[in-house]
C-alpha cells in the first residue's frame, strides 16, 4: 500500500496508471488503463468511482476482459460451458477438467448498465416478448442472439425447480430459440421431518438425506454431460482437485469479507467487494487468476487495516446489503450518503462457504447446491442474514429489489419483518433498475435517511 486509500474517477485512474507503469509496476497480460474499456463501449465506467489500489485495478481489468478470455479459450480448443442460474456448483465441476471453461451467461445482466443500454440487448429481449416486467437478466437473451458478448457455449446447463420464475422463463425462451439446455432439478429445500435423516449443510441449514441424494443424482447427469463434452473422465479424483481449488477461492473470499466487514474505517469500497464476491460463482473464466486477484486484494486490505487506514469515515453507517444491484453506481452512492458495507448476501452466500471435504465429492456438491439460500424459504434466508449481521456488527439492512425478479416481491417483506423482530434494526427496501441516473435523487434521499436513522440511534 503506497498511497492513502481513496476512491477515484476513471480519468484519475488513467493518470495514476501512467504513473504506476512508469514505476514499473507488474501487471497481468490483461492489464492496462481502465479507459480502454470505455472505448469498447463500457461507458458506465465514466460515472463510477474506483478504489485506487493496483489490486483493485487488477480486479476491474480481470472482470472487464472476461469476453476476451472466453474467446481465447474457444480459440485454444477448450470447450465452453454456460452454467445458468446455478450460482457456484456446476462451475466447480467444470473447472475440475483442464479443457473446460465455465462461465455465467446470466452475468450479461450487467451489460445494459455497463454499456448504458447502448448494447441493444434489452430491446432484443423486448422483441422476444420478454419485456421490462422481467428481471434485467433478460439481457442474456439479447447476448445469445447477437453473439457479441460471449461465444455461444458448447453446453448449456440450467438449474430449475426452486428457482426464480423470471429466469426460468427466460431460459425456456432461450431453449425455444433453438439452444439445447441440460435442465437439472433443484428441489425446494426443507427441514427434515421427524422420520427423516437430517444432513447438516454448509452455512447452517439442514435438509433431509433424500433431498441430498436426489440432487446428487441430478448433478450426476451434469457430470456425465461435462465428461462427454470434455472427452475426459470427471472422476472422484478430478472432482476432489476441483473442490480443493474452489475452496482456495472461497477461503480467500471469506478472509477478505471478514477483514473488510469488521475493520474500521472500511478498507475496501462496496463496489470492489461486490465484484470480488462475484468471482466466487464462476471464477470469471479463469480459476487460477481469480486466486491471484483475490490474494492481492486481501494483501492490500490487510496492509490498510494494519496501518489503520481506509477510505470511509470511521463514523460511516454499517450497512448489510441484500441482493446484488443492477446498477453498479448504487454501491458508490451508498458511500456518498455516509454508509459503508458491512456484510452482504448477494443471492449466492452458499458459494462463499467451503465445500465439505469429509464426504464424497458429488455428495459434497449436492450439499452445496442445496445450501443455496434462494432454494429454501425466505425465512431461512432471513435467518442467515440475521446471523451474518450480528457477526459483522451491522447497524442497518438494505434490501435491494431487482425490478421484475419474481422473488423480490415478497421476500423483502419477510426479511424486513424478521430482521426487525430479531435485531430491531432499521431496514430499507429500494428498487435498483439497470440505470439509476433518473432516480438518483430518490435513492439518495432514502439512503441518506437510513444513515441519519443509524446515526441518531447511536446517540440513544
Amino acid at each position: 500500500m503506497s498511497e492513502a486509500p481513496r476512491q477515484i474517477t476513471l480519468q484519475e485512474w488513467d493518470d495514476r496508471y501512467e504513473r504506476l507503469r512508469a514505476r514499473g509496476i507488474p501487471q497481468p497480460v490483461y492489464g492496462g488503463p481502465l479507459g480502454r474499456h470505455v472505448e469498447d463501449g463500457d461507458t458506465r465506467l465514466l460515472k463510477l468511482r474506483f478504489d485506487n489500489s493496483p489490486a483493485a485495478l487488477r480486479l476491474w481489468n480481470f472482470l472487464l476482459t472476461e469476453e476476451d478470455r472466453l474467446q481465447a479459450a474457444r480459440d485454444a480448443g477448450k470447450k465452453l460451458v454456460g452454467t445458468m442460474k446455478d450460482l457456484g456448483t456446476v462451475p466447480v465441476m467444470a473447472y475440475s477438467l483442464d479443457n473446460l471453461v465455465a462461465f455465467y451467461p446470466d452475468g450479461a445482466w450487467w451489460i445494459p448498465c455497463v454499456m448504458e443500454v447502448n448494447s441493444g440487448l434489452l430491446q432484443i429481449a423486448d422483441s422476444l416478448g420478454i419485456d421490462e416486467s422481467f428481471c434485467p437478466v433478460r439481457a442474456m437473451l439479447g447476448a445469445f442472439v447477437t453473439g457479441a458478448h460471449f461465444p455461444i457455449p458448447d453446453l448449456l446447463t440450467c438449474s430449475v425447480g426452486a428457482t426464480c420464475d423470471d429466469f426460468s422463463a427466460i431460459a425456456q425462451r432461450l431453449n425455444g430459440l433453438g439452444h439445447p439446455i441440460l435442465w437439472w432439478e433443484i428441489p425446494h429445500r426443507r427441514s427434515p421431518e421427524e422420520d427423516e435423516e437430517a444432513v447438516q449443510l454448509p452455512g447452517g441449514f439442514s435438509a433431509p438425506r433424500g433431498q441430498v441424494e436426489f440432487v446428487e443424482s441430478e448433478l450426476e447427469r451434469v457430470r456425465i454431460a461435462l465428461q462427454d463434452l470434455a472427452g475426459q473422465a470427471l472422476d472422484e479424483e478430478a472432482l476432489a482437485r476441483g473442490i480443493a481449488q474452489a475452496n482456495r477461492v472461497r477461503r480467500l473470499l471469506a478472509q477478505l469479507r471478514d477483514v473488510v466487514f469488521t475493520a474500521t474505517p472500511c478498507p475496501m469500497p462496496a463496489l470492489e467487494m461486490l465484484i470480488a464476491e462475484m468471482l466466487a460463482i464462476h471464477f470469471c473464466s479463469d480459476q487460477e487468476e481469480t486466486i491471484v486477484v483475490l490474494q492481492e486484494l486481501l494483501d492490500e486490505v490487510k496492509l490498510r487495516v494494519a496501518a489503520g487506514r481506509g477510505y470511509s469515515s470511521a463514523q460511516a453507517a454499517r450497512v448489510f446489503w441484500v441482493n446484488p444491484v443492477a446498477d453498479l453506481q448504487v454501491m458508490n452512492l451508498l458511500e456518498d450518503c455516509g454508509g459503508r458495507i458491512c456484510g452482504t448476501e448477494y443471492l449466492f452466500a452458499h458459494a462463499l462457504d467451503p465445500i465439505p471435504l469429509n464426504v464424497p465429492p458429488m455428495e459434497a456438491l449436492a450439499q452445496m447446491a442445496l445450501a443455496d439460500p434462494m432454494v429454501g424459504s425466505a425465512i431461512d434466508r432471513a435467518a442467515r442474514i440475521v446471523a451474518e449481521m450480528r457477526r459483522f456488527g451491522a447497524e442497518a439492512v438494505i434490501v435491494s429489489r431487482i425490478p421484475g425478479a419474481s422473488h423480490c416481491a415478497l421476500e423483502g417483506e419477510i426479511i424486513s419483518e424478521i430482521v426487525r423482530e430479531e435485531c430491531g434494526l432499521p431496514v430499507l427496501e429500494i428498487e435498483v433498475p439497470p440505470l439509476t441516473d433518473a432516480v438518483q435523487p430518490t435513492l439518495r434521499t432514502r439512503l441518506e435517511a437510513l444513515v441519519e436513522t443509524v446515526v441518531n440511534r447511536r446517540s440513544r
Binding site: 422483441s127 421490462e132 416486467s133 441516473d437 433518473a438 435523487p441
Partner: protein, 262 residues
Amino acid sequence: MMYAGIDAGSRAIKVVLIGEDGSEIVAKGQVDQGVEQDKLACRLFEKVLAEAGMGRSEVRRIVATGYGRNAVPIADTTITEITCHAVGVRQLVPAALTVIDIGGQDSKLVRLDTSGKVRDFAMNDRCAAGTGRFLEVVADRLGLSLSDLGPMAAQSHSPAAISSMCVVFAETEIIGLLAGGRAREDIVAGVQTAIASRIVAMAGRNVEPPIVFTGGVARISGMEMALEAALGHAVAISPDPQMTGALGAALLARRHFDNMNW
C-alpha cells in the same frame, strides 16, 4: 349519399364523411372529448354536416368506433378502433402491412395481410407509459408544448434512460433527471425511446414493412424516428393520422351497407 364514421377517442371525437363511392373525404371535424360525449358527438356530426351543406337524411349509415363508441347514440353500429384504423390506413396507404397507432391512452400495433385485413394485433392499454400521455407529462414538466418535443429531441445525442413501467413513476424519474442537470433534449428523446421500446415489445421479432404510424401521437415530430430506430425499419406517418379511425369507420359503414364481406 354519404357514409359517416365517428371516432370517439379518449382525447378527441372525430367525424369523417365520405361520398357514395368511398374514394374521398367529403367533410371532417374534430372536438375535444368531454363528459357528455354523446351530446358532443351528435353536435360535431351536425356541425360537419352543416359545413358540408348536407342533411342528416343524406347519410346512409354511421359507424362509431373508439373507446367511447357505445355512447354515440346516432351510430347504426360500432366497430373497434383496431379494425377501423387498419381500414383507414389501408385506404390512405394501400401497401401498408403494419400499422402503429399511438393515442392518448393506449397504443396498438396491427398487422395486415396483403388484402388489407387485420391478421393480428397487440395493444398496450393497461399502462399509459407507452402512450401519448407520457409525452404530455414530459411536455408539461419541461414547460414545452407537444409541438416543441420533436425539434427538441432531435438535438439529443444521448437519450436518457427512463426505466419505469408506469408513467407516474417515470414522471419522478424526469424530475430526477432535471435535478441532475440532464439536458432537456436528452429527456425528451429518452421518453420517445421508452415509448418506442414498448412498441417493440408488442411487435415481437417479425415486423413487416411498410410500417405506417397513425393516431394523435404521429403528429408529434420525432416519434417516427424513435420508432424507426427501435424497429429497424422505415416508418411512414399516415396522411391525416388523427382521422384514420373515423375514416376507417366511414369506409366500413359503406361496406356494411353494401353487405360486402369486411
